[in-house]
């Protein structure tokens, strides 16, 4: 292909990538080093608010932002270096907690609490998603041709459901005396509260994520299974290999590139775990890094929001994902080199 044709094909895509991904990223990166704040004046203000019959008036000193002639709030932007990162990481407190050997104190710091959950969520669901995906794919593959369509459709259903809706559905099944909690209570003959402690919520979240993502892995693996060399399988059968041995020595090595692919997608997705936190409203017990960024961004009632800390936290999340991907990328790189 001529370079010109190539450029014409790829140009719009590169432009979009720059506009919608690269520039915002640069902007977030930059904002994480600056803070923008209004300039406040201290003013004595008398405020009168209704009681049920008469008003209450209070006079107090309030910080009121200065306005320019246009009526807009005057703001100043200041370079603060790594201050926002320090505010998010709270390294001083974290170090004190670690050196005094107190896990509880360490986990009382938002960022580290979120990191602990995010990492365990990501690393525990990863093998489960791959295992469940492979199992479903093998099941579809060995189903009779006539029922294969419906089986594929049914096993894809969880993946089609909108994540927040799916999380809410599981939430309602287990919340309070939800149907499934009531069923477990009846079976075990004891009172169960699934949302009263962190570990039960975490199990529900992981269960939900695996249930939701496994079909995607399954459909990719199923496509891979169609290209397994039938001759090798047949000769393995003739050699007396069991079903398990055929899976282990022929099918899985063949699917390895796909497994790496699914792992990468899953690491990237689940490190940004967010819907589960919102859907299960678990903030009191469990938070994730992505939720932390979101929480910084949500304005409180008085309209304050922490854009700089949100930017810093978003950058840290990106760095986290990049670090997690390193082993897999290295593997892909080695395979790539080996192939040529």
């Amino acid at each position: 292909m001529k370079f010109k044709t190539f450029a014409a094909f790829i140009g719009p895509s590169v432009f979009m990538m720059l506009l919608f991904i690269a520039f915002p990223l640069v902007s977030v990166f930059q904002q994480s080093f600056y803070i923008t704040q209004p300039i406040y004046d201290l003013v004595e203000v008398e405020t009168c608010t209704p009681g049920f019959l008469t008003q209450t008036c209070v006079t107090e000193t309030q910080s009121v932002p200065k306005l320019d002639e246009e009526g807009a709030i005057i703001t100043q932007t200041e370079f603060v270096g790594l201050q926002s990162y320090r505010n998010v990481l709270e390294l001083g407190r974290a170090w004190d907690a670690v050196s005094s050997g107190s896990w509880a104190a360490f986990q009382a710091i938002d960022f580290w609490k979120a990191l602990r959950f995010t990492l365990s969520f990501t690393l525990i669901t990863l093998p489960l998603v791959i295992g469940a995906g492979l199992a479903i794919a093998v099941m579809i593959n060995s189903a009779a041709k006539s029922v294969r369509g419906p089986v594929i459709f049914i096993s894809l259903l969880p993946f089609i459901i909108t994540p927040v809706i799916g999380a809410l559905a599981i939430n309602w099944l287990f919340r309070g005396d939800g149907i499934l909690t009531a069923a477990m209570e009846w079976y075990l003959q004891r009172d169960i509260a699934m949302f009263a402690q962190a570990w039960t919520i975490e199990i529900l979240m992981m269960f939900y994520r695996v249930w939701h993502v496994a079909p995607f892995a399954a459909i990719v693996f199923y496509a891979g299974l169609q290209t397994v060399n039938q001759d090798s399988l047949e000769s393995a059968i003739i050699d007396g290999a069991s079903r398990w041995q055929r899976l282990k020595y022929i099918v899985i090595p063949h699917l390895m590139p796909l497994i790496v692919f699914i792992s990468m997608i899953h690491l990237m997705d689940s490190y940004r775990v967010f819907e589960e936190i919102v859907g299960f409203s678990s903030q009191g017990h469990v938070i994730s890094l992505q939720w932390l960024t979101y929480d910084f961004l949500v304005p409180d009632q008085a309209g304050n929001r922490s854009i700089s800390r949100a930017s810093a936290s978003a950058m840290l999340t990106m760095i986290g994902i990049a670090l997690l991907l390193v082993p897999l990328l290295r593997r892909t790189w080695r395979d790539h080199q080996g192939g040529h």
Partner: protein
């Protein structure tokens, strides 16, 4: 359904709109409003709509949209619905106008109590108040011979008796959902102990004996509550009441009507509205008002029209048609038994919610930080110290603390 019933229903529906259609002003200026979406706002904006050329947005996310929408030139909405706290960003940005001249011209029917004054100028018109107050099952308390509890000490004692009797799943309900709700519970308790949140120079001032006392009362409550209290919001507590699962709760006045809603509630007529229990100094509750503000960035003609239409929305006629939808501040309101709790709470001297910029931050960090104490991860003074530290970080970033 039979044709006859359908026809009858149609006639009733038509006659009810006919009764409403009495809007004194014929509005010719296109107007829009943005407010929260609960029952009272629906009643008010419906009444405003009868004047014509009026479009209401009832939106639970209004507080995220309002500051930007009102700062636009011209403002995207002429009329805004706000409460104590949500007025602050609009006030700070100067995007709502003083109303003194409009009140003088068209506000004959307003009571002085309705005029929200900031620095001597009327900045908003209040229409209703809301507060968390005691609701309890009169049948259960009467059976067990418990008098109406008036302090948190008495509430906890009553909860112990109810637990021992085992008549309900959980003696107490509470809006303890992490975030805004949990923050508000602390605000109430802390005001009940007579504390103040922000000190000189916007410094935090909650790490004190009153703060510890407030936390300890909250922790004592959790022993009598559904163990999943950190996910329980107002609607959840309301449903627990309606399904007869709890006996007492400090719940919002705006939820009172739901207790007697025969379509949902199994405890119609059994829930009594009483004053918020006292802490050691004052009622453990804060008074909220809801009302209307008007954009700065619109023409004076638009402001004239908007104010007149708004007055039609909060007139005596609307109140008489929706008497129990809220605790109205408007002339013509007859407080029924559903409003008794809010009225008694105010009469006992409950403080207004101390809305301000720093308080917005304080409320957020409280809402995020208290769960650690209730979970048992931290003790009370560590929790409060950590909350103060989180406040300092956010307040410095916002420029409120040097």
């Amino acid at each position: 359904m039979k044709l006859k019933t359908l026809l009858a229903a149609g006639v009733v529906a038509m006659s009810s709109t006919a009764a409403f259609a009495g809007c004194a002003v014929e509005n010719s200026v296109p107007l829009k409003s943005l407010s929260a979406g609960f029952e009272a706002w629906k009643a008010v904006t419906d009444a405003m709509g009868e004047c014509g050329n009026f479009q209401a947005s009832l939106d639970q996310e209004f507080r995220e949209k309002q500051p930007e929408a009102f700062a636009a030139k011209p403002s995207l909405y002429q009329i805004g619905g706000v409460a104590n706290a949500t007025m602050i960003p609009l006030l700070n940005a100067g995007s709502i106008r003083p109303l003194d001249d409009l009140v003088a011209k068209y506000g004959q029917n307003l009571t002085p109590n309705q005029l929200i004054k900031v620095d001597g100028k009327v900045m908003a018109i209040a229409m209703m108040v809301n507060a968390q107050h005691m609701m309890y099952r009169s049948d259960i308390l009467a059976d067990l011979g418990i008098a109406e509890p008036t302090t948190w000490g008495e509430v906890l004692a009553a909860a112990e008796k109810i637990k021992a009797a085992g008549v309900v799943d959980y003696p107490l309900g509470g809006t303890f959902k992490t975030g805004w709700n949990l923050g508000e519970e602390f605000v109430n308790m802390y005001l009940g102990e007579g504390g103040s949140f922000i000190g000189e120079g916007n410094m935090p001032a909650i790490n004190n004996p009153q703060g510890v006392a407030a936390l300890e009362t909250m922790k004592a409550m959790t022993a009598y509550m559904d163990p999943e209290y950190l996910v329980s919001d107002s609607t959840y507590v309301q449903q627990q009441f309606q399904q007869g699962k709890i006996a007492m709760a400090n719940l919002w006045a705006s939820r009172a009507a739901a207790m007697d809603d025969e379509a949902e509630s199994q405890v119609v007529g059994k829930v009594v509205m009483a004053a918020a229990p006292n802490g050691s100094a004052a009622p453990a509750s804060s008074l909220w008002w809801d009302g209307m503000v008007f954009a700065s960035n619109m023409t004076d003609e638009e402001a004239d029209a908007a104010f007149q239409v708004a007055m039609e929305g909060i007139d005596a006629e609307m109140v008489s048609a929706n008497n129990d939808a809220a605790v109205w501040l408007i002339k013509g309101y007859t407080p029924g038994k559903l409003a008794a709790g809010a009225a008694a709470t105010a009469a006992n001297g409950a403080a207004p919610y101390p809305a301000s910029g720093p308080m917005g931050i304080m409320h957020t960090v409280l809402g995020n930080g208290i769960a650690d104490y209730l979970n048992g991860t931290k003790d009370a003074s560590t929790t409060l110290a950590d909350i103060e530290a989180a406040y300092m970080t956010a307040a410095k970033e916002a420029g409120l603390v040097k």
